[in-house]
């Protein structure tokens, strides 16, 4: 009987116990952001509303800078240390995303083929997305 109980406890303990993917209590309170190309705002999200879009030529690229804002409209200049920027293209065959830099708060868009797609920005923190943007339209056009 002693062996049975020992077996039960060993089996119970052997499976191990996972624990939290802990994270801090403080999160970036992002309410809005602007996307700038050459210091000009080309697209924004305020609350849940997106305005504007980004254009890039096929075979060319543009560096896009991200400016985060809180709910008073003030720029969030200090990003938390653990926050990283992630940008995803819904169709990398049309527009690809490269050179994502959290430090520079920027990324590069390259037009790969003519068409239109969307990109989504995420602020990653401790393995999860603290903020996920609405889809932002990016058009890739051939120069006239």
């Amino acid at each position: 009987m002693r062996s049975l109980l020992l077996l039960a406890l060993l089996a119970f303990a052997a499976t191990g116990c996972k624990d939290h993917n802990d994270h801090g209590d403080d999160h970036a309170e992002v309410f809005a952001f602007d996307l700038l190309v050459n210091n000009v705002v080309v697209a924004s999200q305020t609350g849940t509303t997106v305005t504007g879009s980004i254009g890039v030529g096929v075979g060319s690229s543009a560096v896009v800078t991200v400016r985060l804002k809180d709910d008073t409209g003030s720029e969030i200049t200090e990003w938390e240390d653990e926050v990283t920027l992630e940008v995803v293209s819904a169709d990398a065959a049309t527009v690809s995303v490269t050179e994502i830099s959290t430090a520079q708060r920027s990324f590069r868009l390259t037009g790969a083929a003519e068409g239109s797609t969307t990109i989504t920005l995420m602020l990653m923190h401790g393995g999860h997305a603290d903020f996920e943007s609405r889809p932002i339209v990016v058009s890739s056009t051939r120069p006239l």
Binding site: M1, L4, A8, A11, F12, K18, T48, D130, E132
Partner: protein
């Protein structure tokens, strides 16, 4: 550690070992027509819920039975159960012969009144076991129960389905395993699976009315208890067990399990294991990605028996993994993966005093730890490795219940105390603060009978306390400790004469807001919602009234139940119609509002001939927010079922037509659902070979491959219910 555990068990067991006047019940179970032994029948002492398995020669023995009157019931597949009342005297052996009649017709959903009265068992409203359980055995508890009258299921995919009774689920429907909590978070969100697999269930009980208050203050929809018997309550004569194998084509699913129980000196032990794996589900509209899943469940228990009781321990673990489909409005395009893990330890004892007011006293201590993580898909890394949310729930329970000895008009009573502790911490992207919940309860339930009349009464008082680790002001209000002291109770009056029975039940339930409803703020991705709690929520009270009328003979049976439930401060997540800024998810605000549900359930059976049985079930419920007159969301439509079964010898053929009306009476931002008719076929066979009992249950579900949707599915927009599927279950008892 082991030494300490043994010491604890020994100390607890010592009083039980004291000499006490007990007797033995010994006997045989025979076929009434042929006189042959009925091997592998189960013999149960109804009042103490102890049992034994009948040996190949038909004999059985129940030792150390407390002196007094007991009801002994024998049952086995293919036979009608048979109960006898016996008087056990100290030191004496009661010889008993139980003769079982082969089943020609067994009422599917309505127990014949005379049988119930004979046993005096505080019966559950519905018990699913044996052949019915095998025929209905599904991937989940909800799928197993969904064909019962008044039962539907809420889901977010094949794995996280949960039963809904009378339109009520979540915290209002208590799901228990061996009489204690499953220790999971399935009641808090539709994407959380119930942490149990029905594969190794001995039986499933549905309990409603005042008796349900023994378990909790909030069983507005009732209690579903899955009995696995992880801690043996009787000592078998030798090794017994069963092996199961199940497969289904709709998801290329395969599952299997076994359980073994045996004696070892004064001990009995039991172990069981089950595993399940399934690929993506096939629907009539094509396969649905990210609906695969699986689980593993293992348990080991042992019990030491003494002259006046027993004491046992068990440990079990469950691992489960499944997907929540995506790719619809508001959802993550690739869906979500969920991994969960639960560990439980239990110790349970029973003392059977020789005389006095109580015939047995049960003590239960239980501890569990539950981990659950929800993973998003990373497009960049092409893997589900972004932690959306994770939960750790630790829980403990200590409970003592004294069972009143039948005396005079008292048929049975249960009086007890329970203390609970749980702690929930939420990680990942959620602002829900860690919090601890404690509860203490005193409860009593009693059933009395005077001739044709019987009365059940129950009273329960709870004191709950929910404490966040840190009290603070937040965007949703002041996060602070809340204390509740709700009172609940019930009264059930029944009258029975001949084949007729009627009765009425009134039940007051009380549900305190959960930690999630009070404190949460953040996205819950698998539920595709951004959930906002309200720290000021109060207790939800329910006033349930139902009346029923039943006629049950061997030729026909009808039961109709009408119910009305009025809620004060009905707690539910209200879709605000707004979207969260941080994530593109609809905002659900936890709210308390007065509400009412009204509906009916009906079952009718006809014994068309010696071998043919027809059954018709129908149920409907309508829910309304009483202040605004708006419909309550997630209320099932009118549903029904037409069954036709033919039994000849060991073979039963069945045909079922499942029907649901369209649901167009929808809550705010809820979409309507079309009606459907789905046809299923089934065949069952059993046979004894070499002292072993073989059973086979085969089903062809959704014969016409109809595309249909359940109204309570949160993902119905993309997820039709399963297409045509061939299911096969083989089970061997030995």
């Amino acid at each position: 550690m082991i030494r300490t555990l043994f010491l604890l068990v020994s100390v607890a067991w010592a009083p039980l070992a004291a000499a006490q006047s007990t007797g033995t019940i010994r006997g045989r179970v025979m076929d009434a027509d042929t006189g042959e032994p009925v091997a592998l029948a189960t013999v149960v002492l109804v009042e103490s819920e102890r049992g034994a398995t009948v040996h190949e020669d038909g004999t059985f023995e129940l030792v150390r039975v407390a002196a007094g009157r007991h009801t002994v019931r024998a049952q086995r597949l293919g036979y009608d159960s048979h109960a006898r009342s016996v008087e056990v005297r100290p030191g004496a052996v009661v010889e008993l012969e139980l003769r079982l009649h082969a089943t020609v017709y067994r009422s599917r959903a309505i127990e014949v009144t005379a049988d119930r009265a004979a046993s005096d068992e505080p019966a559950a409203d519905r018990v699913l076991s044996g052949r019915q359980l095998r025929q209905q055995l599904g991937r989940t508890l909800a799928e197993t129960l969904v064909n019962e009258a008044g039962v539907t299921q809420s889901s977010m995919g094949p794995a996280p389905a949960r039963p809904v009774i009378r339109g009520l689920g979540g915290d209002r429907l208590l799901i228990l395993e061996d009489g204690r909590s499953t220790g999971d978070l399935s009641s808090s969100s539709p994407d959380h699976a119930v942490a149990l697999d029905p594969m190794n269930a001995e039986r499933i009980e549905i309990l409603r009315g005042p008796a349900a208050l023994v378990y909790a203050s909030n069983p507005a929809a009732g209690v579903v208890n899955v009995v696995r018997g992880q801690i043996p309550t009787s000592k078998p004569g030798h090794l017994h067990g069963s092996v199961s194998l199940q497969g289904e084509t709709v998801n290329r699913g395969l599952s299997g399990g076994f359980n073994l129980t045996g004696p070892a000196g004064p001990w009995a032990w039991k172990t069981d294991f089950s595993g399940r794996t399934a690929s993506d589900m096939r629907t009539p509209e094509g396969p649905l990605p990210n609906t695969d899943g699986g689980n593993l469940h293992a348990a080991l228990g042992a019990t030491r028996f003494a002259a006046s009781g027993w004491w046992g321990v068990s440990a079990n673990l469950l691992e489960s993994w499944y997907g929540i489909p995506g790719d619809f409005v508001g959802a993550h395009p690739n869906g979500i993966r969920v991994n969960m893990q639960r560990h439980q330890v239990d110790t349970r004892g029973e003392w059977q005093p020789e005389g006095g007011l109580f015939r047995r006293v049960e003590v239960l201590a239980h501890g569990s730890r539950y981990f659950h993580e929800e993973l998003e898909y990373s497009t960049a890394r092409r893997a589900y490795d972004i932690v959306g949310t994770d939960f750790v729930l630790r829980g403990a329970r200590l409970q003592a219940v004294a069972h009143q000895r039948p005396q005079g008009a008292v048929v049975e009573g249960r009086f007890g105390w329970s203390g609970t502790w749980s702690r929930l911490t939420v990680g990942g992207f959620s602002y829900t603060p860690p919090a601890t919940e404690t509860g203490i309860a005193l409860f009593g339930w009693q059933k009395r009978r005077w001739g044709a009349w019987s009365v059940e009464t129950a009273l329960r008082v709870d004191r709950f306390r929910v404490s966040p680790d840190r009290e603070e002001d937040s965007r949703i209000g002041r996060i602070r400790t809340r204390t509740f002291t709700p009172l609940s109770g019930g009264l059930k009056l029944m009258w029975n004469r001949g084949l007729w029975e009627t009765g009425a039940t009134w039940l007051r339930t009380a549900r305190m807001p959960s930690m999630k409803e009070l404190y949460s703020e953040g996205p819950h991705l698998p539920a595709y919602s951004y959930e906002v709690g309200d720290p000021d929520l109060g207790v939800e009270t329910g006033s349930n009234t139902d009346v029923f009328l039943q006629y049950a003979s061997e030729a026909a049976a009808v039961r109709i139940t009408l119910f009305h439930i009025r809620f004060g401060g009905y707690l539910y997540p209200r879709n605000t119609g707004e979207e969260a800024v941080a994530r593109p998810l609809p905002i659900y605000q936890y709210t308390g509002a007065d509400a009412a549900l009204v509906g009916f359930e009906s079952v009718a059976e006809w014994h068309l001939s010696r071998n043919w049985v027809a059954t018709v079930t129908a149920s409907a419920v309508e829910g309304t927010l009483t202040d605004s007159g708006e419909p309550l969301p997630f209320i099932p439509p009118l549903t029904g079922k037409l069954d036709l079964a033919h039994t000849r010898g060991a073979v039963t053929l069945s045909s079922s037509l499942r029907l649901a009306a369209a649901q167009e009476r929808t809550g705010a931002f809820e979409t309507p659902t079309e009606g459907y008719a789905v046809w299923d076929l089934g065949v069952q066979w059993y046979g004894s070979r070499g002292g072993r009992l073989h059973t086979v249950a085969a089903k062809l579900d959704n014969v016409t491959d109809a595309a249909y949707r359940m109204h309570l599915s949160r993902v119905k927009a993309i997820l039709p219910e399963p297409g045509r599927s061939f299911n096969l279950l083989y089970r061997l008892y030995f």
